[in-house]
Symmetry: C2
């Protein structure tokens, strides 16, 4: 599983095109895409290889067997309405598969995958109607009329994912003759016609198309698409959609985007919308909107985000809770919300260049995105609880699972947005590693990687990143091109990395850089080929205390090591213990041995069947044991278990 | 509002019939119904008067204006399918109104209410079909076929409420010529025919009809009805109903009733089913089932019940959570679940005579049932959160409100089960005050009341209870009939009442009874007319600590006074404070003055916009203030506010 598949070589200078999911027309930082950065192994490289070797074909198999891809064939054959299978948004999973495959084909030459990709595109294209409309759930005799259910129909949402697939394809294989971009453009033209300034003055219940239209505009040069994205963002928040039991907040139609104080409502929708709103703010020079989005990001991070980076506290409406409402056991923390949060943060990072955005991205990648797929890449968490109270059951591999109630990863869900979302994220992950600006290169995420780009002044820069991060904290960046004039290598020092150290080897000279603290560490010099910048991040396990306003975890601490949140899993307790019955002995320091972090726990006195509120009960007294914690992203891989991230100290 | 309406005199001896919601054919304790117990004022008498004077007419008005009662007229006129309004269970609200009115007419003569009652019965009866079928949502041309959606259709559930209304009527006005009992019998006969041993081997997704059939059997002598209840209970738990996303646990079809370890799934359904299962166990002498139900009650009380007595931790499926999963801010604690829990506990209390059942009933009555209605009886809480984080908005009095997301009581809901459920409970509350057995009288709930009954040996007993409980803890029981031989007056000493005292005045003699502790205090003697038993319960406010396994409230305490749980409400804080920003100073004792309980709080340092997990933050430091707590059942009556029951001490 951990073999890294061979990837395509990086672009040769100077005719580089950026091959990335987000390419703003203006930004503080310029994204370095798949042509300029290549993850070559390590934690993320291994996951990318599993994604390529197993996840993509697993998804395609399910798209076929569940009937979601055959829906397109039936649509083309005119036999759809009676036989359609899947939920109203199942088309989007096909498009996310295409996007994932497109990015993967940007990383690697794979004749078989290319053939499959083209075959799927052909089936999709065959279902498109003559005016550009494309959706298998609506519009045919026997189906609901087009655009008749904007609240729940997901038609524009599905098209958004279609556009993102087409953008990925055009960026990774410009001018490919498979027809996907044409399909997307025809659909986008219809959207602009139907929902334009003189059209239906509404928008989709599930945001997604906003960011997709902005990117389709960037890739095609069609400004109408960006204008349509702006219309969709501006129309939102004026109570246009029908009210529902959970209120219009569910689909962010309660408050205009620019007037919101924090993300709220359905957590995936909120983040997709925010990502699209950043795109709109960038394209329209809307500084007021941008400032509001920055503030919303900060408040959401500060009061509505789990320690894992996960977002969404409600099962009922898959939604954010109020400020400080972050229950561990009912954490929804949907995998797709984590991915959507990365999309929002990444756009702000490009716009502003603040290291804090990269901090949240790293936390979310390691503790939400990496948590979802199993080691073999063929089963997934949809929700990512922080506290599993009962061991649950092993999902039936041949069935679709309830999305959020199983305690173990499941191969597929009736609502199966997460697996292909993970796949497209991993396949494009190279693009989130580094950026450039006029003065140099910024490294945001640490992984073994090659980086090769041309700075604005025409200088070639080539770097090689070697690291076993997060196994250890040493990151070595070797400069492979000499420069006469100084340029700046900026390294993100994570918010948890107080005490990081940084040194530069140049020939026989070692320079220790003083005062490296969280934020950006910048090394400006005329680098020589062979110079090595070595960053060492402190990897001792850390005891972390929550803000006391987070009621759900009062009296608890968590343990982190590097970017990884750790968890206590019952399979590591003696005697089939239960994580609900132990108390952390906070007086005994954490230990590291056998490659794991160990903490000390005592047991609680046995529960009585009495009324559970009254006098202070006896303190923990049962035998003390030393227990190895598990990286949260690895939990649930050893059979049914109970698990908790927050460890009670009382 | 607090004027007590004049009630009918108690029955004259000896031809008493029991006028109570539950009359088991065998039980340890014999219920004393509305003919033998009359609440005469005080906390509950005042609520009964508001219920009679305002709530019943409020409900009837909404049943008319929402179209739920006119649905019956349309059904009779054959114009229903196109114009039906309301959810699939809206018929049941009409039946619960009838039940409430029937009990009220058992308490009080009211010509106007009697006329209204008969008119509503006539409209219901007109809609019944020739074979006894009665439901406005199913079975007509253009509607779904009868019994075609047992998971969600609520047809049998609605009939259960019809039967309970007919039982209430027959017990309060035996042989009334309004026809309601006939309507119920015809429907019950159809149910036995369709779902009997040779019929459809299934049951209703929403339990309710089980307890109703058992009682209808008791009131009519038709054993077929009890047998049908037994069939429904026995069939459950074998995965007969279709699976749903939340699993069959939602409607208790995952595990047979007798094999369950605790109540689980939808909290109202679980309690209604458990109540019906007790009835079945009693009627069929099924000791195994009975023992299982006792254990389920104990585990549910010990691990799945809020300090208020509320049950149900999930908004998503209105369900119990796992053991110890009791979030304050997402407490669902549906009013109807509290009422259903009282129904379950009451049946066990009659069967076993244990004081603990009365403890939970008292807690639930004071802190769930009394919390739901506003002081004027025309708006209601559907869910009863223990922590309101944001002030919310005042509901539109002319609209129906979302059931669980408003922070203030609302006049009506799309799902409006709670208002008529509160009404029928308050109107029959007299029946939950006291019981009798061969040796004497047991008083379970303390309220000003008259009690008059005949013991098994033919002796007349008449008592008068005088108390201002829970304003103070003195309960005076005056015996109004002399007895030559000893009989036993048993008084429930609540589980919180350590240090209660009890004395008996007989003529000039005062006898102090030693060692009164929680459980039953029994006074056995040949009482003389005029003897007074005085119980004094300790009413000093108590600081209560949760079991440390309840993660959601670790590091917090609650304050109780007598049977009332108290809460901190933001309107009592200075400067429009927020209950999320204060810390209880646990070193300062609680104080009582101006009729309220005062606690001391300090403020937290202002929240920063930073990542909320890291180093220990500064301790509370802001100015200290003394704040009056509010009885939980009174919160939300002074405009939008934030509120919390559990008070953080760190």
């Amino acid at each position: 599983m951990s073999t890294t598949l061979p990837t395509r070589p990086l672009d040769s200078a100077p005719a580089r095109t950026v091959v990335a999911p987000v390419i703003p027309t203006r930004s503080r930082l310029r994204p370095l895409g798949l042509g300029e950065v290549r993850i070559t192994g390590g934690f993320w490289g291994s996951r990318q290889s599993v994604n390529a070797a197993h996840t993509l074909s697993h998804i395609l198999g399910r798209l076929e067997s569940e009937g979601w891809l055959p829906n397109f064939d039936r649509a083309a054959a005119g036999t759809l309405p009676a036989g359609r299978r899947g939920r109203e948004f199942s088309d989007s999973e096909v498009y996310k598969y295409l996007e994932a495959a497109a990015w993967e084909l940007g990383r690697r030459d794979d004749v078989e995958l290319e053939r499959t990709f083209r075959a799927v595109v052909a089936r999709v294209a065959a279902a498109q109607e003559s005016d550009g409309y494309l959706n298998t759930e609506f519009g045919r005799p026997g189906q609901q009329p087009r655009w008749s259910d904007l609240e729940w129909g997901h038609e524009l949402y599905c098209l958004g994912h279609l556009f993102q697939a087409a953008v990925a394809r055009e960026r990774t294989r410009p001018g490919a003759d498979d027809g996907l971009l044409t399909v997307a453009r025809r659909a986008a033209d219809l959207v602009c016609q139907v929902f334009g300034a003189d059209g239906i003055a509404a928008f989709c219940g599930h945001p997604e198309i906003e960011a997709a239209l902005a990117e389709l505009a960037r890739v095609t040069g069609e400004e109408r698409y960006a204008a349509q994205a702006t219309l969709f963002v501006d129309r939102r928040g004026h109570e246009t959609l029908a009210d529902i039991e959970w209120g219009r907040r569910y689909f962010q139609d309660d408050v205009p985007v620019r007037d919101a104080a924090a993300l709220s409502g359905h957590a995936v929708r909120a983040n997709y919308l925010a990502a699209g709103a950043v795109d709109v703010a960038v394209e329209t020079h809307d500084d007021e909107l941008m400032e509001s989005l920055r503030a919303q990001w900060a408040r959401t991070r500060g009061r509505r985000t789990y320690i894992t980076g996960g977002q969404g506290s409600h099962h009922q409406d898959e939604a954010f809770g109020d400020d400080w409402e972050l229950p561990s056991d009912r954490a929804y923390s949907e995998t797709c919300a984590g991915i959507a949060s990365v999309m929002f943060s990444w756009r702000l990072l490009l716009a502003d260049g603040e290291a804090a955005y990269g901090d949240l991205i790293e936390r979310t990648l390691f503790n939400v995105v990496a948590t979802s797929p199993s080691a073999d890449g063929t089963s997934f968490f949809y929700a990512n609880t922080l506290h599993q109270r009962v061991p649950g059951t092993v999902p039936d591999p041949d069935a679709t699972s309830p999305r959020a109630s199983s305690s173990l990863r499941a191969p597929w869900f009736e609502v199966s947005c997460c697996p292909p979302n993970v796949a497209r994220t991993l396949a494009s992950l190279d693009a989130y590693v580094a950026t450039a600006d006029a003065g140099g290169i910024q490294i945001h995420q640490y992984a073994p990687a090659e980086i090769r780009t041309t700075l604005d002044d025409g200088r070639e820069v080539a770097l090689d990143v070697a690291t076993r991060y997060p196994s250890d904290g040493v990151i070595r960046v070797t400069v492979n091109e000499a420069a006469d004039e100084a340029w700046t290598l900026s390294l993100r020092i994570p918010e948890w990395a107080e005490g990081a150290s940084l040194r530069v080897w140049s020939g026989d000279t070692v320079t220790e850089l003083a005062a490296v603290s969280p934020g950006w560490a910048e090394i400006s010099r005329p680098f020589r080929a062979g110079d090595v910048v070595e960053l060492e991040l402190p990897m001792a396990p850390r005891v972390v205390v929550p803000d006391p306003r987070i009621d759900a975890v009062r009296g608890c601490v968590a343990v982190e090591r590097g970017p990884e949140v750790l968890a206590l899993e019952s399979v590591d307790l003696s005697d089939g213990g239960d994580v609900g019955e132990v108390v952390l002995d906070a007086t005994t320091p954490l230990a590291e041995r056998e490659g794991r972090v160990w903490a000390t726990f005592s047991g609680r006195p046995a529960a009585t069947p009495q009324w559970p509120y009254g006098e202070e009960s006896a303190k923990a007294s049962a035998p003390i044991q030393s227990v190895a914690l598990v990286p949260y992203h690895d939990w649930g891989n050893r059979g049914p278990s109970t698990m908790r991230v927050w460890l009670p100290t009382v």
